[in-house]
Amino acid sequence: MLVRELTKKYDGKTVVDSVSFQIPKRSVISLIGPNGAGKSTVMGMISRLIARDSGLVAFEGSDIRKWKSRDLSKRLAILTQSNHTQVKLTVRELVAFGRFPYSGGRLTPEDEQMIDRAIAYMELEPFQDRFIDELSGGQRQRAYIAMVIAQDTEYVLLDEPTNNLDIYHSSNMMKIVRRLCDELGKTVILVLHEINYAAFYSDYICAFSEGRVAKFGTVKEVMTRETLSAIYGVDFEIMEISGKPLSIYY
């Protein structure tokens, strides 16, 4: 996936300003940056949820606008922050929606298998017939991830997956992200607020500042005192813990 000079304006104010980067396959890429730096907007534009003003998002060599939405949904899945629905839906029914791009409303035995696998992968078997509005935040998030797994896409985009989760569920979520990449061979792109989660669990970090890419590189390249201080305007200390650069700030 290639992003070139992506730009978005809201009411004349430029929120994303000619952003360019390339996503390496089979890796975890975190987009970080302060509030309003444009990371979620970029995520929206590369997943076709938000229309871009100018620039290019190329997926497998061709512009995502030229892709049929249905075809794209078999290759790329996006999960946004707030997921709530008015309808009564069980976990299994939600996960089954992941198969929609393949089979429309009618599930084939193959689809059922994929759904079983996704539920098992997220260890949701005990809850599969519960309604999602009866689940805790962490379980609900896992149910939505299971749906994305059932969607069986090469690329998975997650917008702040740890938002509103406590420390236990957040680090569990990040371990799941790592497994999606390592075990299932997916390319995972996520927007994160927690720099240390990004540092510990990703392969690459793309740091945003004021609508531009401040730095894109491997974790070690981005997690430096100078870069982070410049982006966030706060003093940072970088420490190496189990071979990963982690930051301390206060």
Partner: protein
């Protein structure tokens, strides 16, 4: 997936359909002068069109309400609450006002209806999709704007009626006062055709409704062309509401009551079943209500009054029972 729940719901719908059949039979044959063939025929001639109109109305309002609620992702809003039927009345009055009562559009009910439908489809789609976009589907704003629109439309309509030539008003009157005791049966044939065409044209979008209730982002993620789908479904909803309003006049709260009864009874996301439930509830309430009005109250109270009173209370209950929604 969850086949048990699906089967239970199918059974519930079947029972509901049986009730509808019973009510319809009771409506047709109660005190129908079985002994006297001529009187019996006369009763049938009065009752069959009425029954047909009620079934068609229930279908239109039941279907439109569920679809509309899923489009704007809220279950306490219906097209009528947002003034769609006032808009239809306004359009109908405006047409007669503009072209005069002697023109084809005022004399021929079907021609007038066709013009109304086209105008209604265009205006309502533009107005409502603009407000949904502007308010970002925020329910409180939508509801507030809808209420304001509703009275705005009826005020304009009343103003037009006041300055109208009495002869033209006379031509309008039968359409404006349509009710279950005074059914606008001339346009029934055209109504059925319009509804059939709408369902046929929108069959693909209707299948997407299940996915659309997951929200805009999820729907797009799963490959749905969301905006186009919403536009087309909204057009269908406005046409259905136009049909119902033209035939039996405005019935506020009916859509709200039947759509929510169906959601409460079936507790599912499958729109096929939800729509069927809503339509069946609508048929039962309308036919049952009319039966009560004709046989018990001997026409002193119109059925829409019962629906308004019951529906108003039910609406309050829905609002208060879901805190923070």
């Amino acid at each position: 997936m969850n086949h048990a729940a699906y089967r239970t719901n199918s059974r519930k719908l079947l029972i509901l359909a049986l009730f509808v059949l019973l009510t319809a039979a009771a409506y047709l044959f109660a005190e129908a002068h079985w002994g006297n063939e001529r009187l019996f025929r006369y009763a049938m001639r009065l009752r069959i069109p009425k029954l047909a109109a009620m079934l068609i109305t229930a279908f239109a309002i039941g279907g439109a309400s569920i679809v509309f609620q899923s489009i704007i992702q809220n279950t306490i809003v219906t097209p009528c609450l947002l003034g769609m039927n006032s808009l239809y009345m306004l359009i109908h009055t405006a047409v007669v006002f503009a072209v005069g009562s002697s023109s084809l559009f005022a004399v021929n009910a079907n021609a007038a209806f066709a013009v109304d439908l086209i105008l209604m489809g265009v205006t309502a789609t533009v107005v409502y999709s603009y407000f949904f976009r502007k308010t970002r589907h925020n329910v409180l704003y939508v509801l507030l704007i809808g209420t304001v629109l509703s009275s705005l439309f009826s005020s304009i309509q009343t103003a037009m009626v006041r300055v109208m030539d009495p002869n033209e008003y006379d031509a309008l009157l039968s359409a404006l006062t349509a009710s279950f005791s005074n059914i606008n049966s001339e346009i029934m044939g055209l109504s059925v055709v319009v509804m059939a065409v709408v369902v046929l044209v929108l069959r693909r979008e209707l299948k997407l409704l299940d996915v659309m209730t997951l929200g805009k982002n999820q729907a797009i993620n799963l490959g749905v062309d969301y905006d186009r789908c919403i536009r087309r479904l909204l057009l269908g909803v406005t046409l259905f509401i136009a049909v119902a309003t033209a035939m039996v006049g405005p019935i506020s709260f009916l859509g709200l009551v039947i759509a929510n009864l169906s959601r409460q009874l079936l507790k599912t996301f499958r729109h096929g079943q939800l729509i069927a439930g809503s339509v069946l509830f609508g048929m039962m309430i309308l036919v049952g209500g009319q039966l009560l009005v004709e046989r018990v109250y001997s026409y002193t109270v119109p059925v829409s009054v019962f629906i308004m009173v019951g529906g108003g209370i039910y609406f309050l209950y829905l609002l208060l029972s879901r805190k923070g929604a």
